[in-house]
Assembly symmetry: C2
Homo-oligomer: 226 residues x 2
């Protein structure tokens, strides 16, 4: 069986489900060898209590066949970190597939990898994709050539099954889907702005507003650097 080197980028304050959702699915790709790459080997804090232990630092990490970049509020710093961006650029060059979930798209963007590409990200950040030269597409999973981007957080699971079907075929994806019992049944139908009540949408826009403002500034700095 051909080896499939999958590299996940870890950085402080990522949203853990952006990473753990795709990890659960993609680690079941045939021949999967998964590396969790961070700047150092220290445990990486996430947004949700959990800390993540890298398997490799940027120097020791093998070359990716599939590069996966999660998002989270930590992107503000990660986008501006030259070592992180250099690692992503280097890994993307040799990869068969380059991918992101949620606001991880902006780390790809800061590395210049979204220029002229169709892409998606978390709904609260969607318009900002233009600033990294991407063509924003409102969809849960967007493919443009060898680039796969997923929407916010939980979209990473749909994203991972889409990638799996592309890489290993639909039959394999369906088998893993059954193993992971992925037959979602949310108790409410309220997961995107179009389906949210006006009150909930406004409260979430308010919650995100200062975060998006900080992000805008961080992205400006990141783009000046590159």
């Amino acid at each position: 069986m051909e080896k499939m080197n999958i590299v996940f980028l870890l950085f402080p304050n990522l949203t853990q489900l952006d990473f753990t959702g795709p990890l659960q699915v993609l680690s079941r790709l045939p021949g999967a060898q998964v590396s969790l790459a961070a700047k150092t080997m220290e445990p990486v804090p996430t947004d949700a209590v959990l800390t993540l232990n890298p398997t490799h630092d940027f120097q020791s990490c093998p070359g990716a066949d599939l590069l996966c970049v999660p998002g989270g509020f930590g992107i503000d710093d990660a986008m501006q970190d030259e070592e992180t961006i250099a690692f992503v650029r280097r890994q993307a060059e040799g990869a068969r597939y380059v991918s992101s979930v949620c606001t991880g798209a902006f780390i790809l963007g800061a590395a210049g990898l979204l220029q002229g590409k169709k892409a998606t990200t978390h709904w609260a950040y969607h318009d900002e994709l233009k600033r990294v030269g991407a063509e924003p597409v409102k969809a849960r999973v967007v493919r443009d050539g060898n680039l796969f981007t997923g929407g916010g957080v939980t979209a990473g699971i749909d994203f991972a099954f889409t990638l799996m079907a592309e890489i290993a075929g639909e039959e394999h994806a369906r088998a893993i889907q059954l193993g992971l019992e992925y037959d979602p049944a949310p108790p409410f139908d309220a997961g995107v702005p179009d389906k949210a009540s006006p009150g909930v949408l406004e409260s979430q826009r308010e919650r995100y507003a200062p975060r998006v403002a900080a992000f805008r500034e961080a992205l400006g700095c990141a783009l000046k650097q590159s």
Copy 2:
């Protein structure tokens, strides 16, 4: 704001998404204080590369308002581990809510907590629920009083939103759902046996058969002990 102590049980070779899905949602409960409790403070291996760092051992862990037990192939050993079962029993006694995802139900079962209760688990293990005195219900999330059980792996996300609505109200659950963009759109409709093709179902039943056989034996030993 009232404090909500959430305790997740960690044990070797759990299925990481059984835990990380609910963690992502439930860590956004109002007043959430999350403890990740394991037998020792050593990193806990999972089924999917990732190792998990506990925040507490069984001795130092605070009492749970909400106890969450994930599943995975590691339950074969965890169900037979007296310290683990004693911890679960002790925590469940004082908890407002007791819960499991996937085959985590059998850890609750081995602790005697499913006697006479409606419950669910991963489809491949569903019939075994009778052996721990439960009434198996084929549903993605099952509630019986203060007991909430979720189906296989990804059901943990639907389970967590159901619990969140119960604890913090529907409006809060809907707001967090929007934040996590939980508007699932699997590329295939194949996540449960009823929807799987005969070929895929057979291959997965074959894959699970030796696992289920080992589990049956382990459960027998666990029940003899208790």
